[in-house]
């Protein structure tokens, strides 16, 4: 508990936080970048194959979301085992739903 935490720990924490801040800035800049790239890719739809662009922007979205989850939402931290498990669980079910809705829902 709080009381038996030594000042050393606090110092280490402070340092960690500083590093964290840097992570935030980097992630944020990257996220903005991915967004701009995605929008830019769509602007180029007349000159590049649509499928390529689609794959590209979906990848951008996923990468961006990974940053959001792992850095902003701290899924990278070590006490996030269960949160990750259940988020991935939800994502798996969602993915299955999406996949089936775009493939098998239509019948001849």
């Amino acid at each position: 508990m709080a009381t038996n935490q030594s000042d050393i720990n606090v110092y280490v924490e402070k340092q960690k936080r500083k590093r964290e801040l840097q992570h935030y800035y980097v992630s944020f800049v990257l996220m903005i970048l991915f967004t701009i790239l995605a929008f830019a890719a769509v602007m180029l739809r007349d000159s590049i194959n649509d499928y390529l662009i689609a794959i590209f922007i979906v990848t951008m979205a996923i990468v961006q979301v990974v940053f959001q989850l792992y850095y902003f939402m701290h899924m990278k931290d070590k006490d996030h085992g269960f949160p990750s498990l259940f988020l991935y669980g939800g994502a798996a079910v969602a993915f299955l739903t999406v996949i089936s809705f775009v493939s098998i829902i239509w019948i001849s």
């Binding site: 995605a38 602007m43 902003f72 988020l87 939800g90």
Partner: protein, 205 residues
């Protein structure tokens, strides 16, 4: 509870200092797992119905890529400001936390205003909720996200108003923390919305 007024000065993670806090933290993440399925279902339905425009206009005919871009930027920045708020909270800096959360709320309001403007545009161009299967699924998906933004704004605002009285304690810290998580999650969903609904929509045109 005696911990109520415990100073959090020396705590690395005040939001997880008590069992209640740990429970709230974990429970909220699980809730987000459920929300993922909820949005997954909405996305799936939208994808299945997105070109069933009946006699109404299609998405790409209406979408304005600049509006979407601005909305996206607003929401991304608000995600960063809520990160700052949580950092301030961990440093036990009440004023700073309040400031960043209020900025977050403000950005959220801008986003919401833009969305309302956008929807009213579409309405005036003949895309009513009842127009087609596309319109129903579009408004429901994007609207559900908007509803989440709205709820997030209400939630963070009340927390902030209360924070003037309650400060940052092991009781309140988990609340601030999960509210910020919620806000990030809203952003995550939006990333998929602008990608799947708007960008892929325009692309598929």
């Amino acid at each position: 509870m005696s911990e109520t007024h415990t100073s959090i000065e020396k705590l690395a993670n005040p939001e997880k200092a008590t069992l209640e806090g740990k429970n709230k933290f974990l429970g909220f993440w699980f809730f987000l797992g459920g929300e993922t399925v909820l949005f997954g279902t909405l996305f799936a339905t939208f994808l299945a119905l997105r070109d069933k425009v009946a006699s109404g206009p299609s998405g790409p005919e209406l979408f304005s890529i600049t509006t979407t871009f601005i909305s996206t930027m607003i929401l991304l920045v608000s995600s960063l400001t809520s990160v700052f708020a949580v950092m301030a909270m961990k440093d036990n800096k009440l004023r700073q936390m309040q400031l960043w959360f209020w900025v977050t709320v403000l950005l959220g309001l801008c986003f919401l205003g833009l969305e309302i403007y956008e929807f009213s545009e579409y309405l005036s161009e003949g895309l009513g909720y009842k127009t087609s299967a596309f319109s129903s699924s579009f408004y429901t998906l994007v609207g559900t996200h908007g509803g989440h933004v709205f709820f997030g704004i209400l939630w963070i605002s009340t927390l902030m108003i209360a924070s003037y009285k309650k400060g940052i304690t092991t009781v309140t810290a988990p609340k601030y923390y999960v509210a910020a998580l919620y806000w990030h999650f809203i952003d995550v969903v939006w990333v998929f919305i602008f990608t799947v609904v708007y960008l892929l929509g325009i692309l598929g045109d």
